[in-house]
Amino acid sequence: MHTLEPILAEHPFLKGLRPAQLQVLVGCASNVRLDAGQYVFREGEEANRFYILRAGRVALEVFVPGRGPVVIETVGEGDVLGWSWLFPPYQWHFDARALDLTRAIALDGDCLRRKCEEDHDLGYELLKRFAQVIMHRLQATRLQLLDVYGHAPAR
């Protein structure tokens, strides 16, 4: 029988997890296909999933009155999408919209939080990985805020 375990095991975000831990994740996982333009989630909705992206790209957007949707970041193959499922009040802070045909594995947040409470080793491992993603995104955001291209001298 085909399971999602080999796919999860190969994804950069989950690489190196023990087989037993991957088995737990498989129990909370489902395959997802998103068409270009389709919303993955919308700001304010309940955040009860995160996504392991296998192919395609997703834009994180915020709607600004008078300007429309503003893309603040794009993520793609090899990335992970969504961490609001980890923290109360479990609500999405942005819109996420597929830019291309996107394939992903969705992991159920309720299910995973429960499993992590039961297995703190798994919980710690996942938190370490999410912390690294959050750190990278924070650093990238700080660079974005620097506006490094704004006033560079002429070449």
Binding site: V71, T74, Q139, L143, Q144, V148, Y149, H151, P153, A154
Partner: protein, 270 residues
């Protein structure tokens, strides 16, 4: 060294404040140059400014410079029209190690107008494509409207032997490309780190973070080359304005192998 007169053959607006000039030598001749070298452009009665050559090294009779108007001289260069004449001294400095990179993957990381000095290297790589492994261009700009050479990038993206990834720091609805700083493209870029050579040009802070990401991928400091920018005036290593530790950027650079300046790169006072 006396400036030679070159005539403006064409002028194209790239972005709000950036223009590309094509120049031909008054009275014929040409200028052979290596990718990454620069010229001193002299607007008569205004002043002189160092500008990287952004054209094709295989076309030495047509000099191409992409200039961003940020000061009085660069603004004057950008105001030149077809038929105007300016003085050119050059080419100066050491450029990108395109010959030494033969047989390797080549990763080009450009930020903003940093694509201009890298374009000759890309022309060279594409003209001798069979000599190189994977060739990857990672290009970041402020917004979609700030992308240089947009049509050419579109053509490059259509090639099967060149991997082009473009990202912008900020975008609104119409943009369907990547959003995020250029360093975010590095983890997913397809190249073999131990056998890759990285050519990097952009604002210094962007290059600093790019180097970190490339190091995290396993690219060694002796395989990374950066183009430095300092206040170059004589372009011959005499005046000392562009001194960078024991080196002069005009004479010993502007392209440096990173391990050779690593110790100075992080020193804030230099």
């Amino acid at each position: 060294m006396v400036p030679r007169p070159w005539r403006v053959l064409g002028r194209r607006q790239e972005t709000r404040d950036t223009f590309t000039l094509e120049l031909e030598p008054v009275g014929g001749g040409d200028m052979r140059f290596g990718p990454g070298q620069f010229n001193m452009l002299y607007v008569f009665g205004v002043g002189e400014v160092p500008i990287s050559i952004s054209g094709d090294p295989a076309r030495p009779a047509c000099l191409v410079h992409t200039v961003r108007a940020v000061g009085s001289v660069t603004a004057a260069v950008c105001r030149l029209r077809r038929g105007d004449v300016l003085g050119v001294r050059g080419p100066f400095g050491h450029g990108w190690p395109v010959a030494e990179a033969a047989g390797e993957d080549v990763v080009i990381v450009a930020g903003g107008i940093g694509l201009a000095p890298l374009r000759p290297a890309l022309y060279h790589l594409l003209a001798a494509r069979e000599k190189y492994g994977r060739v990857v261009l990672l290009y970041g700009a402020r917004t979609p409207q700030d992308l240089l050479y947009a049509r050419e990038i579109e053509r490059w993206r259509g090639r099967f032997d060149l991997d082009v990834q473009v990202t912008v720091d900020a975008a609104t609805g119409g943009w369907r490309g990547n959003v995020g700083v250029v360093t975010t493209l590095i983890p997913g870029a397809r190249f073999d780190p131990p056998h890759a050579v990285a050519l990097i040009c952009g604002p210094e802070v962007m290059m600093r973070f790019t180097i970190r990401e490339l190091q995290a991928r396993g690219v060694g400091p002796a395989r990374m080359f950066i183009s430095m920018e300092r206040n170059m005036q004589c372009a011959l290593g005499f005046c000392g304005h562009c001194q960078f530790g024991p080196a002069f950027v005009c004479r010993d650079g502007p392209v440096f192998r990173f391990d050779r300046i690593q110790g100075m790169f992080g020193v804030r006072e230099i």
